[in-house]
């Protein structure tokens, strides 16, 4: 059993901050399709880093490679100081992952879901009981403990999924469109929780299609057709594209990726 469950020596970035996630020339090919091409990116500890781009731009593929769900075709990546290719088990102990599918067991109760994931992450006895109590009060899940996860509404499922993904206090948290299909009040609560985690030193990599969420990130990266085309703070990005808002950047990229809206409408009418 390795004692070093805590972060290994994270390399330091140019700013002197530790680098939590590093991708070097990352590439993933599915048959004839290049899903991610030559992505090099560093994310610093405690950042809330937004990964943006149209559907099919390679966001999810990138996150899945960092989590060990996919093996990169080329390039390397390290998470929390561990190499994704060489030490995937150490990476898994140090990350939390939440996708828009939530990964909850519908036929288990809220309590049973949290306890299952906490146990899989190596928590037992008093430590587990304390952590579960802490998570449920943080997420406001106390009154729902005995409810089946399948009967929860979207917002509650999202909170439960976050509780499960952070049961082991992971230093790095990957969120793949965590707020898709959730009401605005729940989204706001969710983001408050994300910022709390970041203040506690958790590094968060999040993908989203909501521009208000993107503007809350410390930095953003734009992906287009598998390529990383811009990195910067929410204020820095729009001028790079000659736009005024992030949303304008997003729409212009989507048009470029999929052809302009007018052209598509015409193609649709011709069909």
């Amino acid at each position: 059993m390795t004692a070093a469950v805590a972060t290994a020596a994270e390399p330091l970035g140019v700013s002197g901050h530790p680098i939590a996630v590093r991708m070097v020339a990352l590439r993933k090919v599915f048959g004839p399709i290049v899903a991610v091409d030559d992505v090099t990116l560093e994310i610093l500890r405690g950042e809330v880093f937004g990964l943006l781009g149209p559907n099919g731009s390679g966001k999810t593929t990138t996150i899945r490679m960092l989590c060990g769900l996919l093996t990169p075709t080329l390039g390397t990546a390290s998470v929390a100081g561990y190499d994704v290719g060489r030490d995937p088990e150490a990476v898994k102990r140090n990350i939390g992952y939440m996708s828009q599918k939530y990964g909850l067991y519908d036929d288990l109760t809220v309590m049973e879901n949290i306890r299952f994931y906490a146990t899989i992450y190596g928590l037992h006895g008093v430590a587990r009981a304390n952590r579960i109590a802490e998570l449920t009060s943080d997420m406001g899940l106390d009154e729902r403990m005995n409810q089946r996860a399948g009967t929860l509404s979207g917002g509650w499922k999202q909170r439960l999924a976050l509780a499960c993904a952070t049961a082991h206090r992971p230093p790095v948290l990957f969120l793949d469109e965590p707020t898709a299909g959730v009401d605005p009040a729940s989204r706001r609560r969710f983001w408050e929780r994300i910022h709390e985690l970041a203040r506690g030193g958790t590094t968060i990599l999040v993908t989203t299609h909501y521009m208000d969420e993107a503007s809350q990130c410390t930095r953003l990266a734009f992906l287009s057709r598998g390529h990383l085309i811009a990195v910067g703070t929410p204020a820095e990005i729009p001028p790079l594209f000659g736009q005024t808002t992030i949303e304008d950047v997003f729409v212009s990229l989507q048009d470029k990726d999929e052809g302009p809206l007018v052209g598509r409408a015409a193609a649709g009418a011709a069909r």
Binding site: G68, L69, L70, E89, K92, I95, K101, G103, D106, I120
Partner: protein, 373 residues
């Protein structure tokens, strides 16, 4: 600590706990797991009969003597014929058979008794509707045996000198259920284990929980063991249900050692779970998993020797049968239950099952590890 395949007991226990909670709450599946054996047992045990009993028969007795009545009685007593009525002439026989009122007729000519008494070789005729050869075959055999024994008996005028009696071993009544029910244990285990295991894993993939599990430090061995062990228990419960119901309803014999049967069944159960796991690595949706499982079910029913004797099959079909664990398990089941076979008689078949189990588990584990990364 890490063992083979990175196995860690700390991960197996929460997996098992979760699986049992889910199984308990999934009422429909649970009902299926116990209900399917019971329903199939009724279907195969009661409805499907290849031996024909109680074929309705009309009697044209032109002799009207104690001797002719005795012959009719003997035929009726074989259990193969039920005399449903008497008719006056041959036209009436045709009408009764064409209407479907009768499938057989016994014609005893006027001189039956007198020829019998004179020892001149009395004749009686059994007419059988042979449109369905399966149903008529048994009747024709029974009639032939009766006539042979009667002929011998009458020649001496007293007790039969040579009494022709066929003695079917192991299944003296030639009852189909005795043959079918033990085989049904194997068919049911195959069906439910492949189906339920593959669907349980594909469901986790569909709902995104498999992906969620893979990003945790859980080792693949615990994941697989956690999914498989509950179904081993399910398999044994099903076998017990069929054995008990089979004994109570069909009075199937249990001549050999039950502990031996349960022990060698492990190889068969694990082999089928391996197949279920393989199916789960191929199927992407639960519907596909179900279709694939049923596709595998057909050769198991048709080629394993469950319903049709393998000896009658063309060589290709026999070879395919050798690729099915069920073929070997059926021999074990019938050996232990019907013939009282011991380990010495069944060990080669049991060894083949162990090879199947090991091969399938290794193959499916390898594929499983590849597909889940």
């Amino acid at each position: 600590m890490a063992g083979p395949f990175g196995f860690r007991s700390a991960h197996v226990l929460p997996m098992l706990q979760k699986e049992f909670i889910q199984m308990r709450r999934d009422r429909l599946t649970l009902a299926m797991l116990v209900g399917i054996p019971a329903i199939q047992l009724m279907l195969f045990g009661f409805a499907i009969r290849t031996e024909v009993r109680h074929l309705p028969m009309v009697l044209l007795d032109e002799s009207r003597t104690p001797q002719s009545r005795s012959l009719a009685e003997v035929l009726q007593n074989t259990g193969n014929f039920d005399i449903v009525g008497s008719v006056a002439n041959r036209d009436a026989i045709r009408i009764a058979i064409e209407r479907g009122d009768a499938h057989a007729a016994l014609v005893i000519p006027p001189d039956f008794a007198s020829r019998l008494l004179r020892g001149n070789g009395a004749q009686a005729q059994v007419i059988v509707d042979a449109a369905d050869p399966l149903s008529s075959g048994a009747a024709i055999n029974a009639a032939a045996i009766v006539s042979a024994s009667r002929a011998m008996a009458s020649r001496n005028g007293r007790a039969p000198a040579l009494d022709v009696r066929v003695r079917p071993w192991y299944n003296p009544d030639l009852r189909n259920s005795t043959y079918i029910v033990p085989g049904l244990i194997g068919v049911l285990l195959s069906l439910t284990l492949i189906l339920v295991t593959s669907m349980a894993i594909v469901r986790e993939r569909e709902r995104g929980t498999l992906e969620q599990l893979i990003v945790t430090p859980i080792d693949k061995a615990s994941l697989m063991i956690g999914k498989i062990v509950p179904f081993i228990l399910v398999g044994y419960v099903q076998m017990t249900v069929v054995l008990i119901l089979g004994k109570l309803l069909f009075d199937i014999p249990i001549r050999g050692s039950v502990p031996l049967l349960y022990a060698v069944t492990m190889g068969f159960i694990v082999a089928n779970l391996g197949i279920g796991l393989l199916v789960s690595t191929i199927a992407e949706t639960q519907a596909q998993a179900m279709q694939l499982s049923f596709m595998l079910l057909m050769p198991n029913i048709l080629l394993s020797g469950f319903m049709f004797p393998r000896e009658a099959m063309p060589p290709v079909a026999q070879w395919i049968g050798y690729a099915l664990p069920l073929t070997f398990f059926l021999r074990i089941l019938r050996g232990i239950l019907l013939r009282g076979s011991g380990f010495a008689q069944i060990w080669t078949d049991a060894a083949v099952l162990v090879v199947f189990a090991l091969g399938l588990v290794v193959a499916s584990a390898t594929r499983f590890r590849k597909t889940v990364g």
